[in-house]
Amino acid sequence: MSAPRPPHLPTTLDCITCGLCIPTCPTWQQTGRESQSPRGRVHLMRAHQEQRLPLDAVYAQEMEDCLVCRRCESVCPAGVSFGALMETTREELVQAGYRAKPSMRWLLAQVRHRKRLHWGMGLLGWAQRSGLVRHMGTLAQAMPAVPPSSEREPLPDFAGAHSPRVGEVWLLEGCVMPELYGRVNRAAMRLLQRVGYDVRVPKPRLCCGALHAHAGEGDVARNLVRGWVQLLEDVGAPDAIVSTSAGCGAHLAELPRILASDPDLARRAEALSNLVIDASAFLARRENLERLRPLLNPLPEAWLPLAYDDPCHLCHGQQVRVQPRELLDAIPGVHRVELLEAEACCGSAGLHSFAHPEAARTQLASKLVDLEQSGAATLVTANPGCHMQWETGQRTSTAPRPVRHLMEVLAASLG
């Protein structure tokens, strides 16, 4: 038997090579290639650990193509922590000099600086409105429409609960979220206030580091976590730290693992991780839902039926599947339909859709067919990346449907 190991350290040895994960993997579906499947990737990671496989460009590419959607984790009977393995692998690759494309590195550098990002987005918005964007790089052209600056205001530091007050939460603002979907954060804030929570958005507004961890920039991610731990200890713990972004939530809920090399910090981060919760899971807690339910009103008829598409890092990363549906079903007179493959990745996958636009489009194509066949009039998501990707899909669709975040839908129903 293998020696006991710290619970947070991922290992390739968990894989019993059964292959059950293979057909669920989006990159395998596109290529049919074992080394583009979860089992194949773990196999190569293990071969590398066993010093049978040196790092090379092909290995790096097979790893880089992974969407880190973590759907393989949901079907794995042996409990392989695939996402964690991939982060470790990519970090090793980055250290060995196999770095992401310069444009991706640039993007990563922007997202963790709120000010820079804000300026950058302002500039991009201007280029979009003036038509100048047509002369810019592919990356700029791939970006969704930037909302006017009035919608890109940061959240207030504090918003008080409607009575009766039941507690205090922090709201995670995110990085891209306030720039592109500030309305989602404001919707979440309003919902939390209405069910009785003081909402605090503590300063400094830190990036969670999820994108950096996925891209193998472990040091950047760990530094950001240090900031978060310090912030929590300085300000004092709220009842919950609520996230409207599945990617940030999943990442922050797993901090002890990311910090395994620094046990002291890992221990302190555990308190933070335990508090992090997706907004849907938080609002669907029994006591919260009871307070929310009577506040909800019917939605405009034209929005219905709704279809909810599971963001990967919510269903596979946090096992949150029923709560968003419960919330939608709590809206009076709602009509909700299921997508055929709601748990399949839409192709957004963090920065993947920017790094691999072609693969991302192929990935989205089958989701668009599912949406079409479902007959839904509104697509509901719960993550900014998915939101962007679905909107991109609607731009080229013959029958475009609005894409809305779960929080927007619920807030609209507040009246």
Binding site: M1, D14, R33, E34, H43, L44, A78
Partner: protein, 481 residues
Amino acid sequence: MPSPALAQDLRALLGPQGFLEAHPQRLSYESDALGLVAQVPEWVLLPSDTQQAAECMRLLAREGVCVVPRGAGTGLSGGATPVAGGVSVVTTRMRKILDIDPVNRLARVQAGVVNVELSRAAARHGLFYAPDPSSQMACTLGGNVAENSGGPHGFKYGQTSRHVRGLVWVDARGEIIDQSDARLDPVGLDVLGLWIGSEGMLGLVTEVVLDLLPSPEVSESMLAIFGSLQAACEAVTELIASGLQPSAIEILDKLTIDAVEASVFAAGYPKDAEAVMLMDLDGSPAEVRELGEQLETILKAHGSRELRRATDPEQRRRLWAGRKGAYGAMGRLAPDLYVADVVAPRTRLAEIVALSTAICAELGLPCANVFHAGDGNLHPNISYDRRDADQVRRVLLAGQRIMAACVERGGTLTGEHGVGLEKRDAMCMVFRDEDLAVQERVRQALDPGRRMNPGKMLPVRGCREMRTRSPYLPGMKEYDA
């Protein structure tokens, strides 16, 4: 080593997505789900249809390269591992369902279609594809044909061989043989019969025509809890003798129950139970009701202390969760999992389960038994760590001893996972050299160059010779004349 000219021709034929030469890409094909044996293929070829597959095989024949067919690589006997060198020809880019004919209830699929995909597509017509290996979410229909796979519902519906109506395959020379017209199925020599279960030694299947069945009106699951494994097995013997036909009869032993209940797959099986029996009942409402009553009488008479029944899909799923999770639960105990696949006479199930557990205990290995009781197909699951050479030796020995014990008591080597590499030499437990020579001649007739999946299934040395070299297989005594 095949020549660079051949590589160039294959590359031109298949393109960079269909012809893999880079080391990491080939390395991922070095073994199937049996991690114990590994050999990196020279190249990996992924054709996209019959024509392209035939063209590949013609090119490979030019230089006499050995070919190992491969589907999803979920095989548990090393069948898709290129032990004798050569290239892997993989069907995972041949995933089209070509036709579903709801009137004649037939499906035509490419060999790389995943088993469960066919069931999903058939469901839209109120039909289903019956063989349901526990790996059905990943394994290919071509692989199922090659292994004659079964599954929990094989008791009522039979294994793959009962559902194959036609095949298209490519032989080692690159000839396409089309036996896919379902009307011809019973006419002439039963070539399909020869093909099914041939483990990639007769060629590469590229298309399969399969029977579909109308979905049952009602399905019910039933869980019976027993205080003794013996009693559960006796109940199975009696219900089979009385001609009752649930569609599945699965038994989990105490160790499996413990492993499952301690894991994330906990299904609420009582911890003090010595065995649980899980059944599915299919048919019209009246049939299912009647069968349910008959089963209940027998199960109670044999001391089942509790019966749980469910028709709601979610509740059924929960009853089956433990059975489905047994593999994963055992897999979490150690890095690797060995799954044996013996068949025991149905009257001696309890005895052989006890024996396998004892054999493993003697070798210091944990062993949990799950079995398709209806078919007498036992799966002792042994968790181990392949990095520990001595553990590997003991696992293999345990596998051999369990097979020998089964054979001695009137059972056989494999129920559904195939002989492959792992049980190749054990063929001598059940066949004499003379019997195996017939199989070898059939193979020679269809593949004179012996280039298809060499080194599998048929022992490479004579049984007599092997027995004098390693007389470690007790089950063989009686065959040594």
